[in-house]
């Protein structure tokens, strides 16, 4: 899944470690989400979007997503 996390992080000069700590996850998970290897759960997606003051749709691109990705 495509996301704007990296772009938003760069805008706010935030490291992956700092973002991970703020949203209660690990740096490796943020990396995986950024490169599209892992799809965040609804709760994590909400926490990330809330951290940036945006909605989930603003941060995550659902346009060309299949329904079940983490099989």
């Amino acid at each position: 899944m495509k996301t704007r996390i990296k772009e938003l992080r760069k805008e706010q000069k935030l490291s992956q470690e700092e973002l991970a700590y703020a949203v209660g996850t690990t740096r490796q998970t943020i990396t995986s989400i950024e490169v599209g290897k892992y799809t965040a759960s609804l709760q994590l997606a909400y926490r990330i979007a809330k951290y940036f003051g945006l909605t989930i749709e603003d941060v995550f691109d659902f346009s060309d997503e299949e329904v079940f990705e983490n099989d």
């Binding site: 991970a20 700590y21 209660g24 690990t26 490796q28 998970t29 290897k37 965040a40 983490n70």
Partner: protein, 152 residues
């Protein structure tokens, strides 16, 4: 974090009990292995006696490491949060679930007990089979975990 602190305190007690049990098994196992030693004993006999001792010595070292981590987390708020995040990270949980499932540690526990009991009764064939099953089970879990870590 208050709930997690309670979890860590309970875990600390459980780890302390398991550490004492491991030490007791290593001491008893060493004494029994020494007594059972004969001049015509084969390599396999020594191996099946030594395997559980080695296993519990390793478990002792791992438990000391986890005790130190728990103590550090209870003393430092920052480390406590980091440990909580690392343990409850959804990606790690998913990998653990995919690679090992919930029954993995129960199966390992049962196999360790079975190996220890079988080695006590000096049944080489059964002990060797159980050791092979235990090793293959743990190895497959580790390989799958590595695979999923690379995949996600």
């Amino acid at each position: 974090m208050t709930e997690y602190r309670k979890v860590l305190k309970n875990r600390l007690i459980l780890l302390a009990i398991c550490t004492l049990v491991s030490v007791a098994i290593v001491i008893i196992g060493t004494l029994l292995a020494g007594q059972a030693e004969t001049d015509d004993g084969t390599f396999a006999d020594g191996f099946i006696k030594g395997f559980p001792i080695g296993l519990f010595s390793g478990a002792f070292a791992v438990m000391i490491f986890f005790i130190a981590r728990c103590v550090r987390a209870l003393k430092s708020e920052n480390f406590l949060k980091k440990m909580y995040i690392a343990e409850n990270d959804e990606r790690k949980k998913m990998i653990r679930q995919s690679a090992m499932g919930k029954s993995f540690f129960f199966t390992v526990g049962f196999l360790v007990v079975a190996v220890t009991v079988a080695s006590f009764f000096n049944n080489t064939a059964i002990t060797m089979t159980l050791m092979a099953v235990l090793s293959a089970h743990v190895l497959s879990g580790v390989i799958l975990k590595l695979y999923y870590f690379l995949k996600y």
